[in-house]
C-alpha cells in the first residue's frame, strides 16, 4: 500500500469526520446544559446546507452571503425550538423532552421537504475546485476549509467556555442548575443560548460540507446518528471528546473501506464503538464519574 493511498484515506476520513464532530459538538452543548439528547441536531446540519442552497439559488445571493444567512437562520430556528417546544414543558422528564426533540426533527424535515423539495442539491465550493496534489494524495481545497473551520469552531468554543462570563455561566448550569440559579444565573437564558450555539455549530458543519457531499432534506438522519455515535465514543458531555470522536469515526470508516472492504464501511465504526463501550463505558475521553444522583 503506497503512501498516496494512505494519505488519501486519511484526508477523506478527516473531512467526513469533521461533520460528525461538529454534529457531536452540538449534541454535547445541549446535553451539558439540559441533560437532554437533542435528536433534532442532525436537522440543524441539514438546515444549514439546505438553506444555503436555497439562498444561493432562489435569492441569487453569492455563496458567502448565502452561507452567513443560512447559519443565522438556523441559529434562529434553534432559539425558536427552545422557546416554543422545550421551555413550555420545563421540568418535564428528560425522556419526554427527548421525544419532543424527535418530534421537532420530524417537523423540520417535513417543512423543508414541502418548501424546498425532495431533490438532492449542490452548492459551489467556497474557493477553487482544482484538487491539490500532496505526496500522491489529491486534496480539494474545500477539505482544507472544512478542517480549518472545524478547528476554528473548536478553539472558539474553548475560549467561550473558559474565558467568557456567559460560557462559564453555561458550564455552571451544566454542573448544577439549582446552584447556578441561586447565584443569579438565568438558567432559562443559558438553555436557550445552548440551543442557539448548537444550532450554530451544526449549521456551520452543514454549510461547509455541502459543496463536497451534496445535501437533501433527509441527510440529517444519518449525520445525527453518526454524530451521536461520535459523542458516545468521545464521552458524552465532553465537547472535545465529541469532536475527536467524530474525526476518529470518519478516519476509521475511510481506512476500513480502503484496506478491508467497502461493503462493511459503516460496520467498522460501530464495531469499534461497541468495543470501546465494553472496555471503557464512559467513552475514550469521558470521565467515569458523570453519574449524577
Amino acid at each position: 500500500m503506497d503512501l498516496g493511498s494512505i494519505l488519501q484515506y486519511l484526508v477523506s476520513g478527516l473531512t467526513v469526520g469533521s461533520t460528525y464532530g461538529l454534529t457531536a459538538l452540538g449534541f454535547t452543548i445541549i446535553f451539558n446544559a439540559t441533560r437532554v439528547i437533542n435528536f433534532a441536531q442532525g436537522e440543524f446540519v441539514m438546515l444549514g446546507g439546505m438553506l444555503a442552497v436555497f439562498f444561493a439559488g432562489a435569492l441569487n445571493l453569492g455563496v458567502f452571503p448565502a452561507v452567513l444567512l443560512a447559519v443565522s437562520c438556523t441559529t434562529l430556528v434553534g432559539v425558536c425550538m427552545e422557546r416554543l417546544t422545550i421551555r413550555p414543558v420545563q421540568g418535564a422528564n428528560v425522556v419526554n423532552i427527548i421525544i419532543i426533540t424527535i418530534g421537532v426533527s420530524i417537523f423540520i424535515r417535513g417543512v423543508v421537504m414541502l418548501f424546498l423539495g425532495k431533490d438532492t442539491f449542490s452548492l459551489p465550493p467556497f474557493f477553487g475546485t482544482e484538487a491539490l496534489e500532496f505526496f500522491g494524495a489529491m486534496i480539494i481545497p474545500q477539505s482544507i476549509w472544512i478542517l480549518l473551520i472545524t478547528m476554528l469552531v473548536l478553539v472558539g468554543l474553548r475560549t467561550y467556555f473558559n474565558k467568557t462570563i456567559f460560557g462559564k455561566a453555561m458550564l455552571a448550569c451544566s454542573f448544577e442548575q439549582k446552584a447556578a440559579h441561586l447565584v443569579g444565573i438565568s438558567v432559562d437564558r443559558m438553555i436557550m443560548l445552548s440551543f442557539a450555539i448548537s444550532a450554530l455549530v451544526g449549521s456551520i458543519g452543514g454549510v461547509i460540507l455541502t459543496p463536497i457531499t451534496l445535501t437533501s432534506y433527509d441527510v440529517g438522519i444519518m449525520l445525527g446518528l453518526k454524530g451521536f455515535a461520535a459523542c458516545i465514543l468521545g464521552g458524552l458531555g465532553n465537547p472535545f471528546g465529541a469532536a475527536a470522536g467524530g474525526l476518529i469515526i470518519g478516519v476509521l470508516e475511510s481506512f476500513g473501506a480502503g484496506f478491508i472492504s467497502s461493503a462493511y464501511k459503516d460496520a467498522f465504526a460501530f464495531i469499534i464503538l461497541l468495543v470501546i463501550l465494553f472496555v471503557k463505558p464512559s467513552g475514550i475521553f469521558g470521565r467515569a464519574d458523570i453519574e449524577r444522583v
Binding site: 503506497d2 477523506s12 431533490d119 449542490s122 451534496l214 473501506a257 480502503g258 461493503a263 464501511k265
Partner: protein, 380 residues
C-alpha cells in the same frame, strides 16, 4: 337492536354504490410511492396516471366505458403498499393493478394480486418481478440486464478488458451488481475490482483509490442520486482518467446538475424518452415521445422524467389488452397482456410472451455521453 339495524343500513349504503357502478366504469388501481424516499419516481408516475385518465375519458374512454384510476400513496413503505393493494382488491374491486413504484413494494404486493387473480403491471425495474414468470405479474421498465448488456457491448467495442465496478448497497445497486458479476465474465471481460458504497455516503475517494490501484480500463457505477454524483466528483478530484460508465438510475437532468462539470464525458444507457429530440424522425417512438413530453410539461409545468413513462406504458398496455379482448375481466386482461406484440410505448417496443412479461430488450436503450451538460447519443 335498532342501533344494529342502523349500522347494517349504513354499511349497505357504503357498499351498494361500489357494486352498482362496476358495470359502466373500468376500474384500475394503482399503488404509487407519491411521497417518501421514492417520491422522485412516484410523483411523475402519479401525474402521468392522472393525465392519462383525463385524456382517455375525453376521447371516449375504453370500449365506451369510463376509466377510473384509483391511486393510493404507499409513502414508499412496504406495509402501506400491502394495505393499499388489499384495499384496491377487496373494497374498490379493481379489474387490473398498476404498481408499485419500487421493486421492494412490488414484490410485497405480488402475492395479493396473484391470490385475487387480478393482473398487476409493475413500474419497478427489478428482474425478480418477472423472473421466474408469474402469470399475473408484468412490468414496464427495462431490466438491469438490458442496461448492463448495452454498457458492456460499448466497453467491448472500445477494446476495454479490465472492468471495475462500484455499486450502492441498496436494492437497486445490489440487483445491478448481481447482473454485472454474471455478465462481465460471460462477455469475455475481467472484473478486477468490486467496490460497494452506502446510499447516504458522502465520500467515495477510498473506494476509487482502491479501484485506481487495480488499474482497470473502465469503471461501471451502479446507483441512484446522489451517490453517483459524488463518485463523479471524487473521480475528478482524484484526476482519474479511467472512463466511467453510469447506470440508467441517473438518467435525469438532476444528476448532471449535481455532478456539475465532473459529469463531462461520462457514459450511460438512456431510455429514448430522455433524448427524444435526438432520435431519428423515422423511429416509431419519436412522435409518441414528443407528444407525451409536450402534454406532461404543459399540464404540470415540470420537466418530464423517464419514470412517468413507466406509468404511461403500464396504463396503455392495460388499455391495449382490454381493447384487444374487448373485455375488462381480470382473466381476459391477463391473457391479452401476454399476447401484446409490437406495442410502441415510452420505454421501447413491447413484445410480450408467456415467457417474457417485460417485453423489452437491450435495444430499448441508447448509449449516451454527457457533453456540455447535455446527453449526446453515441450509439443508437
Amino acid at each position: 337492536m335498532r342501533k344494529g339495524l342502523l349500522v347494517l343500513v349504513v354499511m349497505l349504503a357504503i357498499l351498494m354504490p361500489v357494486k352498482a357502478s362496476a358495470g359502466d366504469t373500468i376500474k384500475i388501481g394503482a399503488v404509487v410511492s407519491v411521497t417518501g424516499p421514492a417520491s422522485f419516481l412516484g410523483e411523475p408516475e402519479r401525474n402521468t396516471l392522472v393525465m392519462l385518465q383525463d385524456q382517455i375519458n375525453d376521447s371516449g374512454g375504453i370500449l365506451g366505458k369510463k376509466l377510473e384510476i384509483i391511486i393510493y400513496d404507499d409513502e414508499t413503505e412496504v406495509n402501506k403498499a400491502v394495505l393499499a393493494a388489499d384495499r384496491l382488491i377487496r373494497r374498490d374491486r379493481v379489474q387490473a393493478g398498476i404498481g408499485g413504484t419500487t421493486s421492494g413494494n412490488t414484490l410485497a404486493i405480488i402475492s395479493n394480486f396473484t391470490r385475487a387473480e387480478i393482473p398487476l403491471v409493475s413500474m419497478a425495474a427489478a428482474e425478480r418481478i418477472v423472473d421466474p414468470v408469474n402469470p399475473w405479474i408484468f412490468k414496464t421498465p427495462q431490466s438491469d440486464r438490458h442496461a448492463v448488456t448495452r454498457i458492456l457491448d460499448h466497453a467491448k467495442d472500445q477494446g476495454y478488458k479490465r472492468i471495475a465496478i462500484i455499486t450502492v448497497s441498496d436494492g437497486f445497486g445490489q440487483a445491478g451488481r448481481e447482473v454485472l458479476r454474471e455478465l462481465v465474465p460471460e462477455m469475455g471481460l475481467t472484473m478486477v475490482s468490486d467496490e460497494i458504497y452506502g446510499p447516504r455516503d458522502t465520500d467515495m475517494t477510498s473506494q476509487l483509490t482502491r479501484i485506481r490501484n487495480q488499474n482497470p480500463d473502465a469503471i461501471i457505477c451502479w446507483g441512484t442520486n446522489p451517490g453517483p454524483a459524488v463518485i463523479a466528483r471524487n473521480r475528478q478530484q482524484l484526476r482519474l482518467d479511467i472512463p466511467l460508465y453510469m447506470s440508467h438510475g441517473v438518467a435525469s437532468r438532476r444528476f448532471i446538475e449535481l455532478a456539475g462539470n465532473a459529469s463531462e464525458g461520462l457514459l450511460l444507457p438512456l431510455g429514448r424518452l430522455s433524448v427524444a429530440e435526438q432520435i431519428p424522425d423515422d423511429h416509431p417512438q419519436k412522435q409518441l415521445l414528443l407528444d407525451y413530453i409536450a402534454d406532461y410539461e404543459s399540464r404540470f409545468n415540470t420537466p418530464v422524467s423517464s419514470f412517468g413513462g413507466y406509468a404511461w406504458d403500464a396504463m396503455m398496455l392495460i388499455k391495449e389488452a382490454i381493447e384487444m379482448g374487448e373485455s375488462a375481466e381480470p382473466q381476459d386482461i391477463r391473457d391479452n397482456l401476454e399476447k401484446i406484440q409490437g406495442f410502441v410505448g415510452t420505454g421501447g417496443i413491447f413484445n410480450m410472451s408467456p415467457e417474457d412479461h417485460n417485453g423489452l430488450d437491450e435495444t430499448s436503450f441508447v448509449m449516451a455521453r454527457i457533453v456540455d451538460q447535455d446527453w449526446e447519443i453515441v450509439s443508437e
